[in-house]
């Protein structure tokens, strides 16, 4: 994976066009409740934080899936809805809370980067979400955080 969603919370206005785009891309309807990206509104801190999967290397969601429903496609962890039985083990295994059970479908959902052209980034009017080289600053910050909460710190690899 050479590109990733790079999120600059300073630019987010909380318009939720990303949630609209994501839900439309994946469900064919405008339905933020079924979006894989969620904008958190920290109203009292004057911050909006778009939040989604960072496609972390550890991929506990994938490792833990009892039926092999989550695959790694060039670094992107993708749920195969047809295989998923909705057991939710991945939803507790992911320490970021970015794999979620969706009652409407009885399956889990997570960001799949829309197969390489993420709808959220295309829809963002302020470039708070861009699909960019992983080398870009900001993404590294998120990665660093992901490592901090890694359940298995590694000396190498």
């Amino acid at each position: 994976m050479d590109k990733a969603l790079v999120i600059d919370v300073g630019k987010c206005t909380g318009c939720r066009q990303c949630e609209l785009a994501c839900s439309y891309e994946h469900t064919g309807t405008f339905n933020p409740a079924r979006s894989r990206i969620t904008v958190f509104d920290f109203h009292e801190k004057a911050r909006f934080v778009p939040y989604t999967c960072t496609q972390c290397d550890q991929a506990w969601c994938q490792q833990v899936c009892p039926v092999g429903a989550i695959s790694n496609e060039n670094g992107v962890k993708v749920v195969d809805a047809a295989t998923c039985v909705g057991c939710k083990v991945c939803t507790i295994a992911c320490p970021f809370g970015t794999v979620n059970y969706e009652p409407a479908s009885g399956k889990v959902i997570k960001c799949d980067l829309c197969g390489g052209d993420p709808a959220c980034a295309r829809a963002c009017p302020t470039e708070a979400i861009v699909f960019a080289d992983v080398a870009v600053q900001g993404f590294e910050k998120m990665r660093a955080w992901a490592e901090k909460t890694d359940t298995a710190p590694q000396a190498s690899a």
């Binding site: 939720r16 839900s23 309807t29 339905n31 409740a33 004057a46």
Partner: protein, 616 residues
Amino acid sequence: MAWARKILRVNLTEGTCKSEPLNMEWAMQYLGQRGLATKYFVEEVDPKVDPLSPENKLIMTTGPLTGTNASTAARYSVVTKGPLTNCIACSNSGGYFGAELKNAGWDMIIFEGRADKPVYLVINDDEAELHDASELWGKSVWHADDWIKEKHQEPMFQIAAIGVPGEAGVLFSAVVNNKHRAAGRSGVGTVMGSKNLKAVAVRGTRGIKVHDQEAFDKAVAGAKAVIAGNAVTHEALPAYGTQVLMNIINELGALPTRNARDVQFEGANDISGEAMHEPRRSDGKPNLARNAGCFGCTIACGRISQIDPAHFSVKDKPQYHHASGGVEYENAWALGADTGVNDLEALTYCNYRCNEHAIDPITTGATIASAMELYKIGALTDAETGGVKMEFGSAEALVAAVDAICEGTDFGKLLGLGSKRLCEKFGHPDLSMSVKGQEFPAYDPRGIQGMGLTYATSNRGACHLRSYTVASEVLGIPEKTDPLVTDGKAGLVKIFQDLTAFVDSSGLCIFTTFAWSAEDIAPQIDAACEGDWSVENLMTVGERIWNLERKFNMDAGMTAEDDTLPKRILKEAAKTGPAKGLVNGLDKMLPEYYELRGWTPDGKPTEETLSRLGIS
């Protein structure tokens, strides 16, 4: 498609929540939101109803585009008969509430009757249930928002609520959603309070589809590009919000100051959009923390401010030290220029309080301004103000007066009458800067002539959001007209009124029209909805809505005599600025306007006009 095709009828007297199909025949005539809810209201409610009686109804309504990815498709409206105006009231709000309601599968909620004890409504998609609100009664909007989320363990609820003034009958109480987005005007929150309805909490997960998705994608993408390419919607509004206007309108000599005694405010720059960016001397931080958008908005004019914690208004009140909704232009004008107060932090505090307790900041500021004038001439004294020195320019007085309204003190109750009833009570009715009981906002009709006709003929009492001719007269949108003349303004007002009426019925924000023409809007509605939604038809829909509102008001007892302006605007010439020496020429515009509308000389829609528009 686009419409959820379902309405929720909540009978508060009986405690029942029932689903019924949306009347699609009416939807084809009135589109949605403002228009469609007005149609329902007019069909169901006696125009002579006492606004605060159980017989009045209150409708929360979305438009067909609400909740879609069209830019600004956040809007919902509250329609009722307003206690401030005794006219049809229709207040419009953004935030996230409307889209959530739509996503729960409802085009509108009709509240009828009155609960025997305080209740709040919880909607989870198809399920709607009334809950006991006795623990919330007497508490603020902010408290109610937190409390309901905690009680139901649902942080994703979008909540609209009233504050203590709405419970207590303050006549300009608003309905505030998302803690700082208001259906602000005409006392819609007062009606909600009279029904013992504290709040509505919604979670919607059903999803929204449109009629022709491919055409919709194309229309929406094109329209978003127009917003992104427009200097007002892409640069000025995100950077300064509506507050970009403060210095512009002041320079134009159209900033009503000290209860419209003046038309220019020497402190305008201190409370302007530019000032909100300036680092404060006290803590080096600007008042403005960031801009914010409502649901789906690619403009993001919203202001999120943070008050200087050392400011006198919040010194011992850490509960106001966090960020929240900052002043928009109308609020900054009403609380600031109109009271002569140039203290941005005080204005921000008062704005917080207006949101926290759901009162209309325009009427709040303008009523305080009228009280300051009554105080100046000695008609109102310390005995009535509880010792507050109500002097123009006093930030302390402003803060004390707003607190008084929120807290319901004796002085607060007086102010809670609004300026018209307050000034009448103290023997000076002409000091109320209102039309049909509602205070006019931040554009002086002596400096912007078209706004005089806008205020005089607005169906919900004085208001800028019924025909914003400022766009043309000041900003040159769609074309520049001279703000100091009356020629051509009748036609301009009519077009703006009709355009606004259909935009307000679509789910879109009227601010898009800084960039969008009707030709940008129509294809989005046409793609989203079944039926013919050409520009021509939409303008007819707008005209139909306007006439239906007008007819309701006439049936409610309004006459052409109510289509007027405060004496000061008609008789006292502007003292400074480009409009120096001018009064508003309403008498030159009004007859022409009636004629263009197809109304009789005494302002009644003719049978011919009504039948042409399909209004029975």
